[in-house]
């Protein structure tokens, strides 16, 4: 898995889909391609009404099925940080990666006949910036972090709640 983690605070997400648009704009992704996607989930009938939006992108696995499945070496993983990305020039559009991924994450661009996927805006990361979706999230519900930092932040917040309610 890549050393990075995009954390979503579902409570603060309003399902406005700005993340999808910022991604599409930044990466000029093809029609119907969503490298990140806001998934709407609604409470089943009979339960208290509820709607949540869950941010789903690529997990950037440690041992990515897509990379193993790719016959041309187009699907790759960066040594330095584990980002899984596709090199468009080498993609032949066989869709093996789409089939192999347990979450069907790689996206199909019908115009180019090739696959696209989230690369965490690695050009921005290399320039010391954060992915487009995180940078411009309408409410700030997305955080670009690492699993260790996310864990620490969550524990810190929990500990502070204890302090707040201490008599």
């Amino acid at each position: 898995m890549s050393k990075y983690h995009v954390l979503q605070d579902v409570k603060d997400c309003i399902g406005c889909r700005a993340c999808e648009v910022h991604c599409k704009e930044k990466n000029s992704s093809g029609p119907g391609v969503y490298n990140c996607k806001m998934v709407e989930v609604v409470a089943p009938a009979g339960k208290k009404m509820r709607v949540d939006y869950v941010y789903l992108s690529c997990f950037h696995c440690k041992k990515p099925w897509c990379v193993d499945a790719c016959p041309t070496g187009a699907m790759r993983q960066r040594d330095e940080d584990g980002i899984v990305y596709v090199e468009g020039a080498s993609c032949v559009g066989c869709k093996a990666c789409i089939t192999a991924c347990p979450w069907t994450v790689p996206q199909w661009n019908p115009e180019t006949g090739k696959v696209e996927k989230c690369d965490l805006c690695k050009d921005r990361i290399d320039a010391g910036l954060e992915p487009a979706c995180v940078t411009k999230c309408t409410t700030g519900c997305l955080t670009f972090t690492t699993p260790a930092k996310a864990s620490q932040a969550s524990r810190q917040a929990f500990a502070e709640r204890i302090m707040k309610h201490r008599r």
């Binding site: 700005a18 648009v21 999230c137 409410t139």
Partner: protein, 700 residues
Amino acid sequence: MAEMKHTICGMCAVRCPITVHVENGRPVWLEGNANDAAMGKSLCAKGGATFAQRDDKQRPLGPLLRMGKRGEGQWREVSWDEAFSFITSKLEGIIAEHGGRAVMMSDRGGPFADLRQAFMKAIGSPNYMNHDCTCGRNTHHASRSVYGMGRKDFAYDYENARHIVLFGRNITESLRVKEVKSVLKGLKNGAHLTYIDPRFSVTAGKATRYWQIKPGTDYALLLAIAHVVVDKGYYDAEFVERYVTGLDEFRTFLGPYTPEWAEKETGIKAKDIEAFCFQINEDRPKVIFHPGWMYTRYRDSFYASRMLHILNALMGSIEQKGGLFYVKGAKDAGKKGLKSIAGSIPAVKEERADGCGSRYPYFDTSGGMLHLAFDALDKADPYPIKAYFIHRHNPLIALPDPVEQRRILDKLDLIVSVDVNYSESAWYADVILPENTYLERGDILRMEKGLKPGFGRRQQCVVPLNNTKAGWEIYLELARRLGKEEYLPFKTLEDIWAFQLQDTDVSIEDFDAKGFVKLSQDAIWYDRDKLSFGTESGKIELFNQKLESQGVPSFIPYTAPEEAPAGSFRLLYGRCGYQAHGQHQNNPILSQLLDENHLWIHPEPAAELGIKEGDLVEVSSGDVTGHIRARVTNMIHPEAVFMLHGFGTQVPLQKRALNKGLADQIFMQGKLTDWDKAGGGVNICQSFVTIKPAVSQELK
């Protein structure tokens, strides 16, 4: 290296501060203007689709002159010179015969309207209107009736609130970036959020209390809330004693409106209303009753909004952290404001065609009432109207009944549309003058009122890709050709900026660093012991004698809404966070997010009608029928159906959006004249439709 330019977004009417990075003349990155801490780098989906709009070729790319009949879509591309000559020669004839008053304009409105108002004054017309008759007019007039001040003279400190109450003010979807961030901060700080709407919107999902109210009964619920608040003394007695008049009359009026009574009308349990009132009493004064945004829904929305305004006063939440505050202007900072262009032109003495200020003395004349102007146009009463400028407004989808509107529009000799996009209304015009996309144009400077007042600037960041012009260029040139240059003696936008800034100690270069200039570094709060209001008494008037004398009662008894005829549903509509006012359904990116809207229908009536999730259904009202797919969900009240607004465009050149989904306004036959006599707004949620499964499951 990219150059960073600060400007103001133009994708919707919120107009957020943004920053664009330009590299070799190309815009390469866009984000919120982080110099404004409340904004940060945040940008909504519409703003995110800015470059896509600029690159899109499915919009007017040069001036167009109508060839065939109106609405037929036969256009001839003409030069700007020919377009201007055509318009000026028509206008000269009209003005010579009927006077300048025969020209009207409906404008989207907003902070850059001063120049358009100046243009109308320069040609001698009093008939400038904004879009507000289907938006905030009831709330605005309700605010004036209680505070003697407009709805925008107050703003809301959500971040520090303890309780936010929203009657259908769908803050997460009818989206203002800074506002929604502030509300979410408030919730993180532990604020309660009570949300009332027949539809469970995304905002309902964030609420600590959600009431799925029977549609059309907001006023009943508000009467009961006010009843409990007054009856139990759940109000700020000190504030009320000092600043509020008319409480005794109000108390008497509220007598019959108990929670038990309201339960029967609204479907909200009496004990829940009591519990809510108990809670706001604990939470006050940091309680915000949002008085409504687009609150032109039912025939009593003006009175519902009055209740909301009154409740804020009873909570004592005025000029209060966590409550409402007066928006401060230049004067409050001890500075001079922007010089008004329109204000420098002599007043037009003619009566307004819509009757605001004359037949309707209690209506604000600054924004007018478009539906009343349509009526004047139809009847040539009080005088003939012959020409209509539509500036970035789309009345054919914003107001009800496009068939009736077209019949009335056909009485005009000239319709000019100034817009970035093809709209239904532009398509019906005689001339389309395409405006530059907002990154390609500057605008006049805007006043930014608030706790820290200032000025803001939209500047041109990139060159226009097509044969389009900025709005200011269009109106200056038209004024010049009509011989009105003396009133608009400017050649460039810089000339206008210099005029606006002449009495201030701000120079235009001061905007370069941050995109805006603050006139006060500190938040300005008034002394709560010395508040004053714009009413005749200077107090908050629950009973407004002046309005009463003009025939508008301060309190009206409750009348239950018209029940939906058997087998019919009340038609409700609304917005999602990634579209606004039907402007971007054809945007290359945004059209991908949702290409057609759906009809929300409750599972119980859906089962009775044999309608399942995803089924194609037929929606009918009178002789109008349309098809749309059903979303079967308990998130809509059983008596209503709901659809997102702005879909079902009929403009052929909007190829991505053409005929996708269904438009709500086509089912509102006869509703152009169904309006609130007290508040002025058009009642847009008063139409009923019948629903049945479509015979064929193929979209027609």
